[in-house]
Amino acid sequence: MNAIRETWLVFRHNTRIALRQKAGIVFGVLQPLLYLVLFGPLFATIGTWETLLPGLLAQVALFSAGLAGFGIVFDARSGVLERLRVTPARRTALLLGRVLSSSLTLLVQSVMLLGAGYAFGMRAPLPGVLAGLVLMALLGVGLAALSNAIALTMDPDAFAPIMTTGVVPLVLLSGAFLPMSMAPAWLDAISRATPFRYVVEAVRDLFAGRYATWTVAAGAAVTAGLTVACVVVGTRVFNRENA
Protein backbone atom coordinates (compact mmCIF):
# COMPACT_ATOMS: atom_id res chain seq x y z
CA MET A 1 0.00 0.00 0.00
CA ASN A 2 1.37 3.38 -0.86
CA ALA A 3 2.09 6.34 1.37
CA ILE A 4 -0.60 8.48 -0.23
CA ARG A 5 -3.35 6.00 0.53
CA GLU A 6 -2.12 5.66 4.12
CA THR A 7 -2.05 9.42 4.52
CA TRP A 8 -5.53 9.67 3.03
CA LEU A 9 -6.90 7.03 5.43
CA VAL A 10 -5.49 8.77 8.47
CA PHE A 11 -6.63 12.16 7.16
CA ARG A 12 -10.17 10.92 6.56
CA HIS A 13 -10.38 9.30 9.95
CA ASN A 14 -9.13 12.34 11.83
CA THR A 15 -11.34 14.66 9.80
CA ARG A 16 -14.40 12.56 10.54
CA ILE A 17 -13.61 12.82 14.24
CA ALA A 18 -13.01 16.58 14.01
CA LEU A 19 -16.27 17.18 12.16
CA ARG A 20 -18.15 15.14 14.70
CA GLN A 21 -16.87 17.36 17.47
CA LYS A 22 -18.32 20.53 15.97
CA ALA A 23 -17.90 22.29 19.29
CA GLY A 24 -14.13 21.95 18.92
CA ILE A 25 -14.14 23.68 15.54
CA VAL A 26 -16.33 26.51 16.80
CA PHE A 27 -14.35 26.87 19.99
CA GLY A 28 -11.11 27.20 18.04
CA VAL A 29 -12.46 30.15 16.06
CA LEU A 30 -14.38 31.71 18.94
CA GLN A 31 -11.64 34.01 20.18
CA PRO A 32 -10.91 35.63 16.78
CA LEU A 33 -14.67 35.91 16.21
CA LEU A 34 -15.01 37.81 19.47
CA TYR A 35 -12.26 40.16 18.33
CA LEU A 36 -14.07 40.58 15.04
CA VAL A 37 -17.40 41.39 16.65
CA LEU A 38 -16.30 43.40 19.70
CA PHE A 39 -13.04 44.95 18.49
CA GLY A 40 -13.55 45.04 14.71
CA PRO A 41 -16.08 47.90 14.64
CA LEU A 42 -13.70 49.94 16.77
CA PHE A 43 -10.76 49.14 14.49
CA ALA A 44 -12.85 50.00 11.44
CA THR A 45 -13.08 53.61 12.58
CA ILE A 46 -9.33 54.05 12.02
CA GLY A 47 -8.52 51.15 9.69
CA THR A 48 -10.29 48.81 7.30
CA TRP A 49 -11.81 45.35 7.64
CA GLU A 50 -9.45 44.22 4.90
CA THR A 51 -6.56 45.06 7.23
CA LEU A 52 -8.06 43.43 10.30
CA LEU A 53 -9.19 40.12 8.85
CA PRO A 54 -5.72 38.88 7.82
CA GLY A 55 -4.59 39.47 11.40
CA LEU A 56 -7.50 37.51 12.78
CA LEU A 57 -6.66 34.73 10.35
CA ALA A 58 -3.15 34.57 11.78
CA GLN A 59 -4.68 34.45 15.24
CA VAL A 60 -6.94 31.53 14.40
CA ALA A 61 -4.02 29.74 12.70
CA LEU A 62 -1.89 29.95 15.82
CA PHE A 63 -4.71 29.04 18.18
CA SER A 64 -6.14 26.23 16.06
CA ALA A 65 -3.32 24.54 14.13
CA GLY A 66 -0.73 25.77 16.61
CA LEU A 67 -2.46 23.86 19.38
CA ALA A 68 -3.18 20.78 17.27
CA GLY A 69 -0.72 18.87 19.42
CA PHE A 70 -3.44 18.49 22.06
CA GLY A 71 -4.88 15.66 20.00
CA ILE A 72 -1.66 13.71 19.85
CA VAL A 73 -1.19 14.05 23.60
CA PHE A 74 -4.51 12.27 24.08
CA ASP A 75 -3.62 9.60 21.54
CA ALA A 76 -0.23 9.01 23.11
CA ARG A 77 -1.81 8.64 26.55
CA SER A 78 -4.57 6.29 25.50
CA GLY A 79 -2.13 4.06 23.61
CA VAL A 80 -3.78 4.78 20.24
CA LEU A 81 -0.56 6.19 18.84
CA GLU A 82 1.48 3.14 19.77
CA ARG A 83 -1.19 0.84 18.38
CA LEU A 84 -0.96 2.68 15.05
CA ARG A 85 2.82 2.51 15.11
CA VAL A 86 2.72 -1.28 15.13
CA THR A 87 0.78 -1.33 11.86
CA PRO A 88 2.81 -1.39 8.63
CA ALA A 89 1.63 2.16 7.82
CA ARG A 90 4.51 4.57 7.29
CA ARG A 91 5.06 6.78 10.25
CA THR A 92 5.26 9.83 8.01
CA ALA A 93 1.77 9.00 6.75
CA LEU A 94 0.47 8.72 10.31
CA LEU A 95 1.75 12.23 10.98
CA LEU A 96 0.82 13.82 7.66
CA GLY A 97 -2.73 12.52 7.67
CA ARG A 98 -3.25 14.02 11.08
CA VAL A 99 -1.60 17.32 10.16
CA LEU A 100 -3.57 17.71 6.92
CA SER A 101 -6.74 17.16 8.88
CA SER A 102 -5.76 19.96 11.29
CA SER A 103 -5.11 22.16 8.29
CA LEU A 104 -8.57 21.44 6.91
CA THR A 105 -10.08 22.36 10.27
CA LEU A 106 -8.19 25.63 10.11
CA LEU A 107 -9.50 26.23 6.61
CA VAL A 108 -13.09 25.72 7.78
CA GLN A 109 -12.49 28.10 10.67
CA SER A 110 -10.91 30.67 8.36
CA VAL A 111 -13.92 30.55 6.05
CA MET A 112 -16.25 31.06 9.04
CA LEU A 113 -14.21 34.06 10.07
CA LEU A 114 -14.20 35.50 6.55
CA GLY A 115 -17.97 34.98 6.29
CA ALA A 116 -18.42 37.04 9.42
CA GLY A 117 -15.97 39.60 8.02
CA TYR A 118 -18.01 40.01 4.84
CA ALA A 119 -21.14 40.36 6.94
CA PHE A 120 -19.55 43.21 8.87
CA GLY A 121 -18.50 45.02 5.74
CA MET A 122 -15.21 43.60 4.51
CA ARG A 123 -14.85 44.07 0.75
CA ALA A 124 -11.88 41.91 -0.24
CA PRO A 125 -11.74 40.57 -3.83
CA LEU A 126 -12.38 36.86 -4.20
CA PRO A 127 -9.07 35.93 -5.91
CA GLY A 128 -7.16 37.63 -3.11
CA VAL A 129 -9.21 35.85 -0.46
CA LEU A 130 -8.69 32.49 -2.16
CA ALA A 131 -4.94 33.09 -2.39
CA GLY A 132 -4.98 34.03 1.31
CA LEU A 133 -6.74 30.78 2.12
CA VAL A 134 -4.07 28.83 0.25
CA LEU A 135 -1.44 30.47 2.45
CA MET A 136 -3.51 29.66 5.54
CA ALA A 137 -3.83 26.00 4.57
CA LEU A 138 -0.09 25.78 4.06
CA LEU A 139 0.59 27.55 7.34
CA GLY A 140 -1.85 25.17 9.03
CA VAL A 141 0.16 22.15 7.86
CA GLY A 142 3.40 23.62 9.19
CA LEU A 143 2.00 24.79 12.50
CA ALA A 144 0.20 21.53 13.17
CA ALA A 145 3.32 19.50 12.39
CA LEU A 146 5.37 21.67 14.72
CA SER A 147 2.71 21.53 17.41
CA ASN A 148 2.65 17.73 17.22
CA ALA A 149 6.43 17.60 17.46
CA ILE A 150 6.42 19.84 20.52
CA ALA A 151 3.63 17.82 22.13
CA LEU A 152 5.60 14.61 21.66
CA THR A 153 8.77 16.13 23.06
CA MET A 154 7.44 18.05 26.00
CA ASP A 155 5.95 16.91 29.28
CA PRO A 156 2.28 16.43 28.29
CA ASP A 157 1.02 18.29 31.37
CA ALA A 158 3.07 21.35 30.47
CA PHE A 159 1.91 21.44 26.86
CA ALA A 160 -1.39 23.23 27.41
CA PRO A 161 -0.22 26.06 29.68
CA ILE A 162 3.02 26.71 27.79
CA MET A 163 1.55 26.61 24.30
CA THR A 164 -1.57 28.67 25.05
CA THR A 165 0.68 31.32 26.57
CA GLY A 166 3.38 31.00 23.92
CA VAL A 167 1.11 31.73 20.97
CA VAL A 168 -0.06 35.08 22.44
CA PRO A 169 3.22 36.99 21.82
CA LEU A 170 3.43 35.40 18.38
CA VAL A 171 -0.01 36.75 17.51
CA LEU A 172 0.82 40.21 18.90
CA LEU A 173 4.19 40.35 17.14
CA SER A 174 2.62 39.44 13.81
CA GLY A 175 0.88 42.80 13.84
CA ALA A 176 -2.44 41.04 13.78
CA PHE A 177 -4.34 43.80 15.55
CA LEU A 178 -2.52 46.89 14.37
CA PRO A 179 -0.01 47.00 11.52
CA MET A 180 3.58 46.91 12.71
CA SER A 181 4.35 49.98 10.60
CA MET A 182 2.85 51.91 13.52
CA ALA A 183 5.21 50.29 16.03
CA PRO A 184 8.26 51.85 17.67
CA ALA A 185 11.54 50.70 16.15
CA TRP A 186 12.41 48.06 18.78
CA LEU A 187 9.02 46.38 18.55
CA ASP A 188 9.18 46.52 14.78
CA ALA A 189 12.59 44.83 14.90
CA ILE A 190 11.38 41.97 17.11
CA SER A 191 8.37 41.55 14.92
CA ARG A 192 10.55 41.20 11.84
CA ALA A 193 12.23 38.23 13.49
CA THR A 194 8.95 36.31 13.72
CA PRO A 195 7.57 34.59 10.65
CA PHE A 196 3.90 35.41 11.05
CA ARG A 197 4.35 39.12 10.38
CA TYR A 198 5.30 38.34 6.79
CA VAL A 199 2.30 36.09 6.35
CA VAL A 200 -0.09 38.72 7.73
CA GLU A 201 1.34 41.46 5.55
CA ALA A 202 1.16 39.28 2.46
CA VAL A 203 -2.49 38.42 3.14
CA ARG A 204 -3.25 42.14 3.70
CA ASP A 205 -1.87 42.90 0.26
CA LEU A 206 -3.90 40.06 -1.24
CA PHE A 207 -7.07 41.29 0.46
CA ALA A 208 -6.42 44.76 -0.90
CA GLY A 209 -6.23 43.33 -4.41
CA ARG A 210 -2.46 43.82 -4.74
CA TYR A 211 -1.13 40.50 -5.97
CA ALA A 212 2.25 41.01 -7.63
CA THR A 213 4.09 42.70 -4.76
CA TRP A 214 7.30 41.93 -2.94
CA THR A 215 5.31 41.68 0.27
CA VAL A 216 3.21 38.88 -1.20
CA ALA A 217 6.29 37.12 -2.51
CA ALA A 218 8.03 37.40 0.86
CA GLY A 219 4.94 36.15 2.73
CA ALA A 220 4.54 33.20 0.39
CA ALA A 221 8.23 32.33 0.65
CA VAL A 222 8.21 32.54 4.46
CA THR A 223 5.07 30.43 4.67
CA ALA A 224 6.47 27.79 2.35
CA GLY A 225 9.84 27.72 4.09
CA LEU A 226 8.28 27.56 7.53
CA THR A 227 5.97 24.76 6.48
CA VAL A 228 8.74 22.66 4.98
CA ALA A 229 10.96 23.19 8.03
CA CYS A 230 8.16 22.31 10.47
CA VAL A 231 7.16 19.20 8.55
CA VAL A 232 10.79 18.03 8.51
CA VAL A 233 11.07 18.58 12.27
CA GLY A 234 7.71 16.95 12.89
CA THR A 235 8.59 13.90 10.82
CA ARG A 236 11.91 13.52 12.55
CA VAL A 237 10.37 13.66 16.02
CA PHE A 238 7.53 11.37 15.02
CA ASN A 239 9.88 8.78 13.52
CA ARG A 240 11.98 8.73 16.62
CA GLU A 241 11.46 5.67 18.73
CA ASN A 242 9.46 6.13 21.91
CA ALA A 243 8.01 9.35 20.61
Binding site: R16, G79, E241
Partner: protein
Protein backbone atom coordinates in the same frame (compact mmCIF):
# COMPACT_ATOMS: atom_id res chain seq x y z
CA UNK B 1 8.33 -17.97 14.71
CA UNK B 2 10.68 -15.92 16.87
CA UNK B 3 14.40 -16.42 17.03
CA UNK B 4 16.68 -13.95 18.72
CA UNK B 5 20.37 -13.99 19.43
CA UNK B 6 22.06 -11.58 21.76
CA UNK B 7 19.21 -9.10 21.49
CA UNK B 8 20.20 -6.09 23.61
CA UNK B 9 19.03 -2.63 24.40
CA UNK B 10 21.09 0.05 26.05
CA UNK B 11 19.18 3.27 26.49
CA UNK B 12 20.70 6.71 26.07
CA UNK B 13 22.28 7.47 29.38
CA UNK B 14 23.73 3.99 29.62
CA UNK B 15 20.91 2.00 31.21
CA UNK B 16 21.34 -1.56 29.98
CA UNK B 17 17.75 -2.76 30.07
CA UNK B 18 18.34 -5.93 28.06
CA UNK B 19 21.82 -7.40 27.96
CA UNK B 20 21.52 -10.26 25.51
CA UNK B 21 18.34 -12.25 25.07
CA UNK B 22 18.44 -15.56 23.21
CA UNK B 23 15.09 -17.17 22.77
CA UNK B 24 13.18 -19.28 20.31
CA UNK B 25 9.44 -19.59 19.90
CA UNK B 26 7.97 -22.25 17.62
CA UNK B 27 4.88 -21.78 15.47
CA UNK B 28 1.67 -22.58 17.32
CA UNK B 29 3.14 -22.25 20.79
CA UNK B 30 1.77 -20.18 23.64
CA UNK B 31 4.82 -18.91 25.46
CA UNK B 32 4.68 -17.12 28.78
CA UNK B 33 7.34 -14.47 29.35
CA UNK B 34 7.96 -13.91 33.05
CA UNK B 35 10.29 -11.80 35.10
CA UNK B 36 10.42 -9.43 38.05
CA UNK B 37 9.72 -5.75 37.52
CA UNK B 38 12.58 -4.09 35.69
CA UNK B 39 13.92 -7.41 34.41
CA UNK B 40 13.58 -6.27 30.79
CA UNK B 41 10.27 -7.87 29.85
CA UNK B 42 8.60 -4.85 28.36
CA UNK B 43 11.79 -3.64 26.67
CA UNK B 44 12.21 -7.05 25.02
CA UNK B 45 8.56 -7.04 24.01
CA UNK B 46 8.89 -3.57 22.51
CA UNK B 47 11.97 -4.61 20.56
CA UNK B 48 10.26 -7.71 19.20
CA UNK B 49 7.29 -5.62 18.06
CA UNK B 50 9.53 -3.04 16.28
CA UNK B 51 8.71 -0.21 18.69
CA UNK B 52 12.28 -0.05 19.95
CA UNK B 53 15.40 -0.56 17.93
CA UNK B 54 17.82 -3.06 19.45
CA UNK B 55 21.30 -1.71 20.11
CA UNK B 56 22.89 -5.11 19.51
CA UNK B 57 21.97 -8.62 18.47
CA UNK B 58 19.66 -9.99 15.81
CA UNK B 59 16.18 -11.38 15.60
CA UNK B 60 13.82 -12.91 13.10
CA UNK B 61 10.18 -12.39 13.91
CA UNK B 62 7.41 -14.03 11.87
CA UNK B 63 9.87 -14.69 9.07
CA UNK B 64 11.25 -11.16 8.77
CA UNK B 65 14.41 -9.59 10.07
CA UNK B 66 13.64 -7.23 12.90
CA UNK B 67 16.26 -4.64 12.05
CA UNK B 68 16.30 -4.63 8.26
CA UNK B 69 12.62 -5.28 7.61
CA UNK B 70 10.52 -3.90 10.46
CA UNK B 71 7.53 -3.28 8.18
CA UNK B 72 7.61 -6.91 7.13
CA UNK B 73 7.44 -7.86 10.79
CA UNK B 74 4.62 -5.41 11.49
CA UNK B 75 2.54 -6.84 8.68
CA UNK B 76 2.49 -10.27 10.27
CA UNK B 77 2.30 -9.61 13.99
CA UNK B 78 -0.37 -8.35 16.32
CA UNK B 79 0.48 -6.48 19.49
CA UNK B 80 -1.61 -5.69 22.53
CA UNK B 81 0.27 -3.32 24.79
CA UNK B 82 -0.05 -3.18 28.55
CA UNK B 83 -2.22 -0.10 28.54
CA UNK B 84 -4.16 -1.04 25.43
CA UNK B 85 -4.98 1.25 22.55
CA UNK B 86 -8.69 2.06 22.70
CA UNK B 87 -9.27 5.80 22.44
CA UNK B 88 -11.94 7.14 24.79
CA UNK B 89 -13.90 9.33 22.36
CA UNK B 90 -14.40 7.50 19.10
CA UNK B 91 -16.62 4.59 18.11
CA UNK B 92 -14.42 1.54 18.45
CA UNK B 93 -15.77 -0.15 15.32
CA UNK B 94 -14.67 2.82 13.23
CA UNK B 95 -11.20 2.78 14.79
CA UNK B 96 -10.97 -0.91 13.99
CA UNK B 97 -11.84 -0.29 10.34
CA UNK B 98 -9.08 2.29 10.02
CA UNK B 99 -6.71 -0.10 11.75
CA UNK B 100 -7.59 -2.89 9.30
CA UNK B 101 -7.20 -0.62 6.29
CA UNK B 102 -3.75 0.45 7.43
CA UNK B 103 -2.82 -3.19 6.80
CA UNK B 104 -3.83 -2.66 3.19
CA UNK B 105 -7.40 -3.97 3.28
CA UNK B 106 -10.03 -2.44 1.01
CA UNK B 107 -13.00 -0.85 2.80
CA UNK B 108 -15.40 -3.72 2.15
CA UNK B 109 -12.87 -6.30 3.24
CA UNK B 110 -12.02 -4.29 6.32
CA UNK B 111 -15.67 -4.02 7.34
CA UNK B 112 -16.14 -7.73 6.85
CA UNK B 113 -13.03 -8.58 8.84
CA UNK B 114 -13.96 -6.21 11.66
CA UNK B 115 -17.44 -7.74 11.91
CA UNK B 116 -15.97 -11.23 11.96
CA UNK B 117 -13.38 -10.37 14.61
CA UNK B 118 -15.96 -8.69 16.84
CA UNK B 119 -18.26 -11.66 16.45
CA UNK B 120 -15.52 -14.01 17.60
CA UNK B 121 -14.75 -11.94 20.67
CA UNK B 122 -18.45 -11.48 21.56
CA UNK B 123 -18.15 -7.76 20.92
CA UNK B 124 -20.46 -7.32 17.92
CA UNK B 125 -23.19 -5.40 19.80
CA UNK B 126 -20.62 -2.93 21.15
CA UNK B 127 -19.09 -1.79 17.84
CA UNK B 128 -20.73 1.65 17.90
CA UNK B 129 -19.79 2.41 21.47
CA UNK B 130 -16.97 4.79 22.31
CA UNK B 131 -13.99 3.53 24.28
CA UNK B 132 -14.87 5.58 27.34
CA UNK B 133 -18.19 3.80 27.82
CA UNK B 134 -16.75 0.26 27.89
CA UNK B 135 -15.95 -1.82 30.95
CA UNK B 136 -12.37 -2.90 31.62
CA UNK B 137 -12.97 -6.41 30.33
CA UNK B 138 -14.74 -5.18 27.20
CA UNK B 139 -11.96 -2.71 26.49
CA UNK B 140 -9.40 -5.48 26.85
CA UNK B 141 -11.26 -7.62 24.35
CA UNK B 142 -11.31 -4.69 21.94
CA UNK B 143 -7.55 -4.39 22.43
CA UNK B 144 -7.36 -8.02 21.40
CA UNK B 145 -9.55 -7.25 18.38
CA UNK B 146 -7.06 -4.57 17.26
CA UNK B 147 -4.29 -7.13 17.57
CA UNK B 148 -6.19 -9.73 15.54
CA UNK B 149 -8.17 -7.93 12.87
CA UNK B 150 -5.47 -8.42 10.21
CA UNK B 151 -5.08 -12.15 11.06
CA UNK B 152 -1.49 -12.11 12.26
CA UNK B 153 0.44 -15.31 12.59
CA UNK B 154 2.02 -14.17 15.84
CA UNK B 155 0.36 -12.26 18.66
CA UNK B 156 2.20 -10.36 21.40
CA UNK B 157 0.28 -9.74 24.59
CA UNK B 158 1.86 -7.53 27.23
CA UNK B 159 0.22 -8.34 30.58
CA UNK B 160 -3.16 -8.94 29.01
CA UNK B 161 -5.20 -9.46 32.18
CA UNK B 162 -3.65 -7.02 34.65
CA UNK B 163 -6.43 -5.17 36.40
CA UNK B 164 -9.24 -7.42 35.15
CA UNK B 165 -11.81 -9.16 37.36
CA UNK B 166 -11.58 -12.97 37.55
CA UNK B 167 -14.47 -13.53 35.19
CA UNK B 168 -13.02 -11.27 32.48
CA UNK B 169 -9.64 -12.94 32.91
CA UNK B 170 -11.11 -16.39 32.40
CA UNK B 171 -13.01 -15.16 29.34
CA UNK B 172 -9.85 -13.70 27.84
CA UNK B 173 -7.94 -16.92 28.47
CA UNK B 174 -10.64 -18.86 26.66
CA UNK B 175 -10.40 -16.56 23.68
CA UNK B 176 -6.62 -16.90 23.53
CA UNK B 177 -6.80 -20.70 23.69
CA UNK B 178 -9.47 -20.84 21.02
CA UNK B 179 -7.38 -18.66 18.70
CA UNK B 180 -4.52 -21.07 18.94
CA UNK B 181 -6.72 -24.11 18.43
CA UNK B 182 -8.70 -22.72 15.52
CA UNK B 183 -6.08 -20.63 13.72
CA UNK B 184 -2.80 -22.06 14.91
CA UNK B 185 -1.92 -18.62 16.22
CA UNK B 186 1.41 -18.31 18.02
CA UNK B 187 1.13 -16.31 21.26
CA UNK B 188 3.93 -14.62 23.17
CA UNK B 189 2.60 -13.15 26.39
CA UNK B 190 4.20 -11.45 29.31
CA UNK B 191 2.44 -11.74 32.62
CA UNK B 192 2.74 -11.06 36.30
CA UNK B 193 0.37 -13.81 37.25
CA UNK B 194 1.81 -17.26 37.79
CA UNK B 195 -1.63 -18.87 37.58
CA UNK B 196 -2.02 -17.27 34.17
CA UNK B 197 1.36 -18.57 33.04
CA UNK B 198 0.57 -21.99 34.50
CA UNK B 199 -2.83 -22.48 32.88
CA UNK B 200 -2.26 -20.75 29.58
CA UNK B 201 1.33 -21.26 28.47
CA UNK B 202 2.91 -24.39 26.97
CA UNK B 203 6.30 -23.08 27.84
CA UNK B 204 7.72 -20.35 30.04
CA UNK B 205 10.71 -18.12 29.52
CA UNK B 206 12.00 -16.33 32.58
CA UNK B 207 14.03 -13.16 32.22
CA UNK B 208 16.02 -11.40 34.91
CA UNK B 209 18.62 -8.63 34.77
CA UNK B 210 18.09 -8.34 31.03
CA UNK B 211 18.82 -11.97 30.08
CA UNK B 212 16.96 -15.27 29.93
CA UNK B 213 17.64 -17.20 33.13
CA UNK B 214 15.37 -20.23 32.72
CA UNK B 215 12.93 -21.80 30.34
CA UNK B 216 10.77 -24.87 30.10
CA UNK B 217 7.23 -26.19 30.46
CA UNK B 218 5.51 -25.05 33.66
CA UNK B 219 5.69 -28.63 35.00
CA UNK B 220 9.42 -28.87 34.32
CA UNK B 221 10.12 -25.61 36.07
CA UNK B 222 8.07 -26.65 39.06
CA UNK B 223 10.21 -29.77 39.30
CA UNK B 224 7.36 -32.06 40.35
CA UNK B 225 6.87 -31.06 43.97
CA UNK B 226 7.08 -27.29 44.24
CA UNK B 227 4.84 -24.57 42.94
CA UNK B 228 5.66 -22.13 40.18
CA UNK B 229 6.08 -19.53 42.92
CA UNK B 230 8.83 -21.55 44.53
CA UNK B 231 10.52 -22.12 41.19
CA UNK B 232 10.37 -18.43 40.38
CA UNK B 233 11.75 -17.49 43.78
CA UNK B 234 14.58 -19.98 43.40
CA UNK B 235 15.48 -18.71 39.94
CA UNK B 236 15.29 -14.97 40.44
CA UNK B 237 15.61 -14.65 44.20
CA UNK B 238 12.40 -12.66 44.18
CA UNK B 239 8.77 -13.55 44.49
CA UNK B 240 6.75 -12.70 41.42
CA UNK B 241 3.68 -12.30 43.54
CA UNK B 242 5.04 -9.32 45.46
CA UNK B 243 6.16 -7.77 42.23
CA UNK B 244 2.82 -8.48 40.65
CA UNK B 245 0.93 -6.84 43.45
CA UNK B 246 3.21 -3.84 43.41
CA UNK B 247 2.73 -3.51 39.66
CA UNK B 248 -1.02 -3.94 39.89
CA UNK B 249 -1.38 -1.26 42.52
CA UNK B 250 0.98 0.94 40.52
CA UNK B 251 -1.22 0.49 37.46
CA UNK B 252 -4.30 1.41 39.46
CA UNK B 253 -2.52 4.45 40.80
CA UNK B 254 -1.60 5.52 37.28
CA UNK B 255 -5.14 4.96 36.03
Amino acid sequence: MIKTSGLSKTFKGGVRAVTGVDLTVEAGEIVGFLGPNGAGKTTTMRMLTTLLRPTAGAATVAGHDLVTDPRGVRRRIGYVSQGGGVGPFDPVGEELELHAMLYGMRPAQARERVAETLERLDLAPLADRTGGTLSGGQRRRFDLAFGLVHRPTLLFLDEPTTGLDPQSRAALWDHIRRLREEDGLTVFLSTHYLDEADTLADRLIIIDHGAVVAEGAPAELKGGTGTLDDAFLAITGRSLREDGEAAASGARGAA
